[in-house]
């Protein structure tokens, strides 16, 4: 061993291993692994959790080989913009190769979390049969599997604690998949089936819930008649997180008091989510639990602001509020005065295409919340108008913001009073909120805002840009600044070749870059790919695939996805995704 590192031998491996277990982040462990060979070896043998932000960044077999003792794996596939249909179908992100490698190399795997991946029923079956100690399966924004796959998970995973299905596209071909949990199965702690569309046999569900005393999280899917919900709640008074599916009122008298007493029994409830279709008259049934709620994700379509404000005013301990914009400015003012512990606010558009009457949600709502809720850290806000001064005030009120995502629904919307671009407003946000890690910008924006972001957003890790900027300089400011940038996604901006080529090195320091409907040419992609062998430069050619060699350099690239990788060009790309 190198003399300079002889101190390493002063302690046996187990001591170092124990020390490393205190390191909170993967980044710290990665740093440790670079110190010397011994530490590299000790670290890799003791790593229990692995996070793979881009499934194509590394070969599955290589990852499994390097960290043989992993118990929990999180893997992400498609780029974020795939959520909004910007990639093509069959883009990739298949989980098959990962599951096969993991089945061979990590038989003791306990937790698997996949996001934006294509998971087939076969994958689920292999996972269910290979991992004897499987405890947690979490699939978010995935597709490719059906309830038959879930049935095999239910049947084979004897010690499953969590089945968490979040916004997946699931084919429903096995109606009673839930009956595949054996009668001896009692270990469930989390069951989230909110994204399943199909009918659920409620009595089977009831039996399952009754025999799982540790069940803390139950998120039902969207067809839950009120009476059945009442029955289920009575069986699980220990619930901490409840998703009511879609609560439909049925107009029987007496049901209200049943519902009210069912909720009143949930003394430990902290999270409530779901779609409230039962109308405002049933809403007071949840008053008794409001005080204990820390998270409310209630998407209501039939409740006007006055009733919703009454609910919200009772939620004095609320930390997270997700709601539709039907809450309106008035509702948010109620939030501002009652929910002093609020950390996260997300407001979604009820009418994204502007087909119905406009909703009275403006910058004032957000302003009020920023003013009244001192602890606000995370904002996602869809609205139709904004001003620079409101943004400045919000930045002043909430210097601790870590995530700020503002989507003004109509692109190129200026400050509606001054008609100026919103550069100054967003500039204030990045300058005053020093801990900002995630930012999405919208509205009318020039290159100036990018200059400010590049210069001031020193902790920014993820940036989403749409319909903004004037010239290539905008992209250049971002890539040459923003020291900690990991993910950049851009659509419909006039950014082109020069900024990409001038900042090629930066691209390897980032996880990925997505650009669509910008001004990038194939020639630049070729130069970039040649210069940076550890980047995959993928071009999506929707006009029929075929060989890239024949296309001229000045050919416009519609969709571009660049990511760093040590695995080389991917082998499972469909014909329309071409690696340059």
């Amino acid at each position: 061993m190198d003399r300079a590192f002889s101190w390493v031998a002063a302690f046996p491996d187990e001591v170092w291993e124990h020390t490393f277990s205190f390191l909170p982040t993967d980044a710290d462990r990665n740093a440790v692994a670079l110190v010397c060979r011994s530490w590299h070896r000790i670290e890799r043998l003791s790593r229990r959790k692995i996070f793979v932000g881009n499934c194509y960044a590394v070969e599955p077999a290589a990852a499994v080989r390097r960290f043989p003792e992993v118990r929990a794996a999180t893997i992400k596939g498609k780029p974020h913009f795939a959520d909004f249909n910007l990639t093509i179908t069959d883009w990739g992100g298949g989980a098959g190769r990962w599951i096969q490698s993991m089945a061979k190399g990590w038989p003791l795997l306990e937790e698997l979390r996949l996001k934006r991946m294509v998971v087939s029923d076969d994958c689920l079956e292999i996972a269910a049969r290979s991992f004897k100690n499987f405890r947690v399966l979490s699939l978010a924004s995935c597709e490719g599997f059906s309830t038959a796959g879930l049935a095999s998970v239910a049947a084979n995973c004897r010690n499953l604690k969590a089945l968490d299905l979040h916004e997946n596209e699931v084919e429903e071909n096995c109606i009673n998949w839930i009956s595949h949990f054996p009668e001896s199965f009692t270990s469930l702690v989390t069951l989230n089936i909110a994204c399943l569309d199909g009918e659920m046999n409620v009595s089977i569900l009831e039996r399952l819930i009754s025999r799982c005393p540790n069940l803390k999280t139950l998120r039902l899917n969207h067809v839950t008649p009120l009476e059945k919900l009442v029955g289920l709640l009575h069986r699980a008074p220990q619930l901490v997180d409840l998703g009511i599916g879609m609560l439909i009122g049925e107009g029987h008298p007496g049901l209200f008091s049943k519902l009210e007493s069912a909720f009143a029994h949930l003394k430990h409830l902290k999270n409530l989510s779901g779609i409230w279709e039962a109308g405002p008259l049933y809403l007071p049934a949840i008053y008794s639990i409001c005080e204990g709620l820390t998270a409310l994700h209630l998407c209501d379509s039939s409740i006007q602001t006055p009733e919703l404000s009454k609910v919200v005013s009772r939620c004095k301990n609320l930390q997270q509020l997700w709601a539709m914009d039907l809450i309106e400015d008035d509702g948010l003012i109620a939030v501002a005065s009652s929910c002093k512990l609020l950390r996260e606010l997300r407001i979604f558009p009820s009418d994204p295409h502007g087909l119905a009457q406009p909703v009275y949600l403006t910058q004032y709502g957000l302003l009020a919340v920023s003013s009244g809720c001192v602890m606000l850290e995370s904002v996602l806000y869809f609205c139709r108008q904004m001003t620079n001064s409101a943004l400045l005030a919000i930045a002043n009120n909430c210097p601790n913001l870590t995530c700020f995502r503002l989507c003004i629904i109509e692109p190129y919307t200026p400050d509606y009073i001054t008609q100026e671009p919103l550069d100054a407003g967003f500039g204030a946000i990045v300058e005053l909120c020093k801990d900002l890690r995630r930012l999405s910008i919208s509205g009318l924006l020039t290159d100036r805002v990018f200059k400010t972001i590049g210069a001031s957003a020193n902790r920014l890790e993820m940036l989403s840009v749409a319909f903004a900027g004037d010239t290539d300089a905008g992209l250049h400011y971002i890539l040459s600044g923003c020291k900690k940038l990991r993910k950049l996604e851009i659509r419909d901006c006039p950014f082109g070749d020069k900024a990409l080529l001038d900042n090629a090195d930066k691209l390897e320091a980032m996880r990925s870059l997505w650009m669509s409907s910008c001004s990038v040419t194939l020639g630049a992609c070729r130069l970039l790919a040649k210069k940076m062998p550890r980047l995959n430069v993928e071009v999506i050619d929707e006009n029929g695939g075929g060989s890239l060699e024949s296309w001229p350099d000045d050919c416009h690239v519609e969709k571009l996805y660049i990511y760093r990788t040590i695995a080389g060009p991917r082998t499972d790309a469909p014909p329309f995704v071409l690696t340059v």
Partner: protein, 318 residues
């Protein structure tokens, strides 16, 4: 409530009264009696709307004082501009002068969309990346721009049900609720076209009608079809040929016909049933060559279905 409206022919007198009234100001924060409702109800009126110069100072002082109650450090509104913004707080109620502003503004947008739609029908404007016109063109086609606004399909499901609800009457009618619930499905529907390997997804709720759906199909596949067609010497003619393909998608007389697979697995012609019924039962769409369209016997439909699964199938199990 009615009286208030009438006496508030213009907003000023009422608002001036509020300054000395401590109690009313208190209530502004969460309560909603008529006066506050009016103050807080905002319009999307354009700036420079009918002169209410007196208002700003009144309103701004109200808001400032509310803020100073909660925390002296908090800055809610700090600039001239914001005061000007306050003057956008105008009363609603159908009698105030700003109401016509709001509706005119909306009407203008719709008119613009319609005239752009006509333009598009006559002669296409090319898509320019990132430019204002391209967005307008796409919006005017009645088709949502792909992926904008950036919300997930699941969110869109909720959006559709809420839109319906706000329009329909509030009663405890089960049937209506069930109808709303079923509208949750069938928003982003996969659509394939004969001869084109790439599949697309179309947002039915953004279409809203068969006509717009037909438009959307054309928009989604036109470029791909152009690329597939053998080029004649004349590029323009190729364009025309391609566009011609999409005429009469719905009535069976054109080169292609639009069919769909419903929730029972049957293949049907698009356009036979009312739009709402179509949206609630459609699972998948397909653009077939009209010459391939045989009469819809069950066994024929099943066979076609099988072929589409093997051949064009989305390939998810990779």
């Amino acid at each position: 409530m009615e009286d208030d409206h009438e006496s508030m022919g213009d907003a000023c007198p009422q608002l001036l009264n509020l300054i000395p009234n401590e109690k009313v100001r208190e209530k502004r924060i969460g309560g909603l009696d008529a006066a506050e409702e009016k103050k807080l109800e905002l319009t999307l009126g354009l700036p420079g709307g009918v002169g209410e110069e007196e208002e700003p100072s009144v309103l701004s002082s109200c808001i400032f004082s509310k803020v100073s109650k909660t925390s002296s450090r908090r800055v809610v509104l700090g600039s001239e501009q914001q005061e000007a913004g306050l003057f956008q707080l105008q009363s609603r109620g159908g009698y105030g002068t700003e109401w016509p502003h709001k509706t005119t503004w909306n009407c203008e947008i719709f008119d613009e969309q319609q005239s752009l739609e006509k333009e598009k029908a006559l002669g296409d404007t090319e898509n320019e990346a990132g430019s204002n016109t391209s967005f307008q063109t796409r919006a005017s086609a009645g088709v949502a721009v792909v992926g904008w606004p950036p919300i997930r399909a699941f969110r869109k499901n909720l959006a559709s049900s809420s839109v319906k609800q706000s329009v329909e009457l509030q009663n405890g009618n089960i049937d209506e609720k069930v109808k709303v619930a079923s509208c949750k499905k069938g928003l982003l529907i996969k659509i394939n076209m004969d001869g084109i390997p790439i599949g697309r997804k179309v947002d039915l709720n953004a279409c809203g009608s068969y006509k717009k759906l037909s438009f959307a199909v054309e928009y989604l596949f036109l470029d791909l079809l152009r690329a597939q067609k053998e080029t004649s010497t004349n590029d323009l003619r190729m364009d025309e040929e391609a566009k011609q393909a999409f005429k009469s998608l719905l009535d069976g007389s054109g080169e292609y016909t639009l069919v769909y697979e419903d929730n029972e697995g049957d293949r049907m012609l698009v356009g036979d049933v009312p739009w709402d019924m179509f949206v609630s039962s459609v699972k998948r769409l397909r653009v077939l060559k009209s010459s391939d369209l045989s009469s819809l016997h069950d066994w024929e439909a099943r066979k076609e279905q099988q072929l589409s699964v093997e051949y064009g199938g989305e390939g998810l199990a990779n």
